[in-house]
Amino acid sequence: MSQVRFISGDEAFALGVSLARVQVISAYPITPQTIVVERLADMVEEGELDSKFVHVESEHSAMMTAMGVSAMGARAFTATSSQGLLYMAECLGYVSGGRFPIVMMNANRATALPWSIYGDHRDSLSQLDCGWIQIYVEDAQEALDMAIQGYALAESENIRLPVMVNLDGFVLTHTYEKVNIPDRETIDAFLPKRNTWDKLDLDNPVSMAFTVGPELNEEFNLLHHKASINALGELARIDKEYAKITGRSYGNAVKGYRTEDAEYVLISLGSISGLVRDAVDRLRKEGIKAGAIKIRMMRPFPKDEIAALTKNVLAIGVIDKDISFGYEGTVYTNVNSALLQKKIYIPSYNFIGGIGGRDVSVDNIESCFKEMINADTKETVRFMGLEVIDDC
């Protein structure tokens, strides 16, 4: 029987990892990721989870240890955040290129400088190109469910790539919510033990993580690219299967809200998406045809799905908890490219907000819609909710 508990996003994720019967956990502490690994350490210690906890001396080693585990054919987990993600960055492309289906939780946190332990998306978005599948969840329930689905996705025969599941730091990792926890038998049936031919095998020795010269290197990268794209369809398939056993569905890589007749649509990632939907409801009451799109997966990028939801829209906005200094938010860049490729030529605006843990209110979001409606195209990239006058 499933049970309902009142837990934080980190704890929910830890329970998901436990239900996925991860065999080895290697992690290095960083706020606000710590709770997930502390809970897992407790579960291992108390015998609830038959897993080995490897105490590594850095995030770089956390990922390299996970790779070693995965190379043996076992299921590996690690978690990190911010500077930790950047410290292990070298290993990210390594693990994806080597096709190791590791799942990692990333607690989204600002990157220094200035120092901040609070949330934004600059850590994970800076790693979009590293070849991982990137998922952003909205609440603690989705965190638990995506820990489990993350392994199903990563280990799919037509994917075999690592999956990074992103939780907004503090807002999600440390906020307590009611979470439905499936029972072990249900999840065991959904996610059997990892069984792969692609491993170091004492009876059939292999070489892994090898060099490929210019004559075939591009082809290996094309294979990686194609595997990543497969995750769009696979995510939807897994979601349906998961819904059958738990009753919970999150849809595919994007989720639209009141987009059917929407004229103005705001796009967001992660925990802020609920506020965007609240703003949409308020504006609808004023007669404004507002809509929202939540992007659940940034890689592979769901360009067709986004285009399908924005066909009849007059203008779109993208809220980015990210700034690629000197240009714009990275989600905005990705969305604009998708629209152009689909020949959707509409005004688009970028609202940079929630940087370094800055609160974003429903009022802030409402004003984003208003700015889109007012069609001021002079400055398409704007910082929202500034507390001081920008006179520089």
Partner: protein, 98 residues
């Protein structure tokens, strides 16, 4: 005896012929190293007492024990000359590659 060996190189014409994961078969050689050599170890079994020091110290492992003496795999010998120096009995002498 286990030892990586020469396999014929197949031209890969389709993406599906590449390894579809992170691993490929171990111990597969498609190229020999014989072309590297400008000196060649010449073995004289009459002088060999089978101490196998040449076998032990060969960085490329191309010297094998054979009966009471040794044999050399000239496909992979690079001609470094360590075996000649190791052999106290001059059972191996480096000669110019022809």
């Amino acid at each position: 005896m286990i030892r990586p060996s020469i396999t014929e190189k197949n031209k890969i014409e389709k993406l599906s012929r590449l390894p579809q994961g992170g691993s490929c078969k171990a111990g597969v050689l498609i190229e020999k190293n014989a072309g590297w050599r400008n000196k060649c170890p010449v073995y004289n079994p009459d002088k060999c007492t089978g101490c196998y020091q040449c076998y032990m110290y060969c960085p490329d492992g191309v010297i094998s024990k054979e009966g009471k003496g040794i044999s050399i795999d000239y496909d992979f010998c690079k001609g470094c000359g360590i075996c000649e120096k190791i052999c106290k009995l001059q059972a191996i002498v480096m000669e110019g590659e022809t």
